[in-house]
Structures are given as structure tokens and as C-alpha cells.
Symmetry: C2
Subunit: 232 residues, 2 copies
């Protein structure tokens, strides 16, 4: 496993060409973005054309785990993939429309997916996916049966070839535009979790366990909390 | 332009094969998802491999507009694209890990991008992109100069070939699992806008205009509001 202070070593396609100042070069930045996201966008090539599918994921060290049904078109394709995770942090309203932007954090991972067949790694990968959003959930809920496991593909993607871009802070306008009588600033955007909604079919007497309470938002009516990165 | 009650006509690749019950078939569902999102994930094929890039967008009728720098690798590639917009609405915690899921709305659009050269359509497309998140902003901020316009590529993508999937509501467990002493329900997730953060370099006396106030969240400390779909 890489130390988190290992720099991301760019390849031709992960070298940030546009907006170089937005490139993050530390491996810990990659982990931060991946751990804070809830879904990734998995890009594959099917019959020569791109296909981009939102899907859940989990991370163990320098491996990203994805899962899916044995019938899914996007997973059957195989070969090279690009997985992108994007967090929108704000709308950047500049004095000129040209300098309008967004504050965001985004990670792109390229590579060949590996189909996981080893039972222990399959279980570890699925645990990482289920626990990504709600740590402790795998240990709490009913584990998969042999039949359920057989219907599930687990895929692994190395984080070796990856890039991270981020923008934060105020708009940056052309010097001359700072004199314009135009309001400029940021509208912050956050993905928040609200209070739990129990299943209407929940049996009486089953209370919300502490690990789910911890992963949900504050009580209804209170201020919402941003989505915390999954604990690792 | 299609009426919003026109059904989405599936092609081979937009026909929902996995999770058919999650397929939405009305064109208005497509508009709703596209209008509620803030960024799309643009998938292209570069040197035979997929590349997925988050980017802003706007919509006019049955055309999606994207923009970018003349130097961007993802826009130089040309050819077929897949644009996906995903909104995460909740974490679905079932009694069994196998039935864990997410509540979400997701739109996928396939097609050949068309580079927009007509000046009037270029301006309309850029206006749609800038006004997507904050309606009224194009008319308010400084318009692009000839030089700024020349540095900007505007791309159009028809919404002809598209699919929409969505899941909402409580978890669905196997009948036998409803007797388990396991809490089940949903942790709602929302993308919210918070109160504006003025640019530290903002000149004195410039107040937040009404159209920006309307697109931002409530006052600090108050409950946050979900991101409203762009007004159209």
C-alpha cells in the first residue's frame, strides 16, 4: 500500500493539462475524494461507444471495489475503465460569465478491472462497498447467502493510475472587472444526510442502532450535516 | 420539440435491462433529472479507452449544451458520447446486505455531439449553461468578449436517445427476512445550497441581487433547502 504522502505519478492521460493549478498531487487527496463520495461514474466502452453508469463503490487501501449483477452490460464489457467521483462544493459566481465556475473535488481512476474470484477478497470487497456509506452495516445486517453471492460480480480496480482536481474559494475575475457593479461570490453546495426514515414494515421495538444513527443526519428540523467521509 | 408526455423511445442501448421496474419512460422524467442536476459526467472514448469528465451543462428543449476550452482533451475527441446525470436521494438499508441499495434518479443520454458554430445558438447554449444553476445570471454578469467567446467550444447533444432510471422508497427485503431483529429504512441524502459567501474583494455597497438570493439556500443557521430544479 502506498503511504498517503506518496505523490500521484501522472501518466499521459492523468497529467492535468487544463487548469493545472487545480491539480492535486498527493495520494491522500485521492483517498479523501473517494472516501467522501457516495457514487462513482463508471465509464466503459461498449461496441466502440462510451457508456457511463453510476454505481456504488468501496475502497481498501489502493484498490477500489465495484459490484454488480452478473447480467449488467457495463460489467460484461470488461477491459479498460475510467471511474470518476465528483463532489460539488459550490457555484462560483464571477463578475464576468466567462469566469463562472464551480467549486468541486474530483478524482479520475483509469485501469483494467480485475474480476475478483477469491472468496476472501470477494467478501472483503463487498464489505468495503456496504460499509462505505454506513460503516458497521456489513457486520449488522444479514450476510449474503451462497446463491446471493453467486449472483454478484465483484470487480477490483487499482488506484495506481489516478488524478485529482479541485477548486475552492472565491471567484477570480479579470483585473478590470473588479470595478463592475456586479455581485460576486459563492453559493456553497453540500451533499447532506437527513434523519433516518424507518421502513414502514419495521417490527415494533427495533431501534436505530448507533452505527446507523452516526451515519445519518441530525434530528429533523435541526441543521443538516454534510456527508462525513466514511471512517477508515 | 417533444411534448413532455412523449415517451422515451428506447434503442438497444437505452433499453433498461437490469432493474426494469426502475425504468422511467416519460420524457418529462428526463427533463426533471437533467434540470435538477448540477454537473453531468461526460463519457468519451480517447485512444480506445473510456474517459469520464464532470462538467456543467444546460438544456434548451431537447438539446443539451456543454462547453469547454478549445484545448480540452475530452472535447477534442469528438464522436460518440454518453452523458450521465445522477442525483443521490438516499441510502437504502435493508435487513440483508444483498438488498442494500440507493434511492436515486439517473439520466443517460447517448449521441454524437455537434460543435455549435452559429453565433446565435452559441450564445443561447452558453446562456443555458450559465443560467442552469442560477437563472438570470447571464443577463446580470458581464457578457463574454469576442476573445473569450473564441476560446470557448460549445457542444450540442440531442436528447433523442436517452434513458432514465430511478429508485425511491423503503427497502425491499426477502419475505423471510422481515422477521429478523434488524433495523431497516432509508437515510435520506440531499444536495443543498447554503447561504451566499460574498467575494472578499466585493466592492462596498453591492448587495446580493434577488435572482442569486433565490438560487441560494436559506439564511445561515436556518434549515437548508434542497437544490431546486432550474426554472424553465
Amino acid at each position: 500500500m502506498h503511504s498517503t504522502t506518496t505523490p500521484l505519478s501522472p501518466t499521459d492521460r492523468t497529467r492535468v493539462n487544463r487548469g493545472k493549478k487545480r491539480a492535486r498531487t498527493d495520494r491522500s487527496d485521492l483517498y479523501d475524494v473517494l472516501d467522501a463520495g457516495l457514487v462513482c461514474h463508471l465509464g466503459v466502452v461498449v461496441d466502440g461507444a462510451p457508456m457511463v453508469v453510476p454505481t456504488a463503490y468501496g475502497r481498501i487501501g489502493d484498490t477500489l471495489y465495484l459490484h454488480g449483477s452478473t447480467g449488467a452490460r457495463s460489467l460484461r464489457a470488461g477491459g479498460e475503465v475510467c471511474v470518476t467521483v465528483t463532489l460539488v462544493d459550490g457555484l462560483v459566481l464571477a463578475r464576468s460569465v466567462f469566469h463562472h465556475s464551480m467549486n468541486y473535488r474530483s478524482a479520475m481512476v483509469y485501469g483494467q478491472v480485475r474480476r475478483v474470484d477469491d472468496p476472501a477478497e470477494r467478501e472483503a470487497g463487498l464489505t468495503a462497498i456496504v460499509d462505505h456509506a454506513v460503516p458497521g452495516q456489513w457486520a449488522y445486517a444479514r450476510r449474503p447467502s451462497t446463491k446471493e453471492l453467486a449472483a454478484t460480480i465483484v470487480l477490483a480496480l487499482s488506484l495506481e493510475e489516478a488524478s485529482v482536481k479541485a477548486r475552492s474559494g472565491a471567484p477570480v475575475d479579470d483585473d478590470a472587472d473588479y470595478d463592475l457593479p456586479v455581485w460576486a461570490g459563492v453559493v456553497p453546495v453540500a451533499q447532506v444526510r437527513q434523519d433516518v426514515e424507518p421502513d414502514p414494515r419495521l417490527a415494533e421495538g427495533i431501534t436505530v442502532p448507533a452505527h446507523i444513527r452516526a451515519a445519518a443526519g441530525a434530528e429533523l428540523g435541526a441543521e443538516l450535516s454534510p456527508v462525513p467521509p466514511a471512517a477508515r
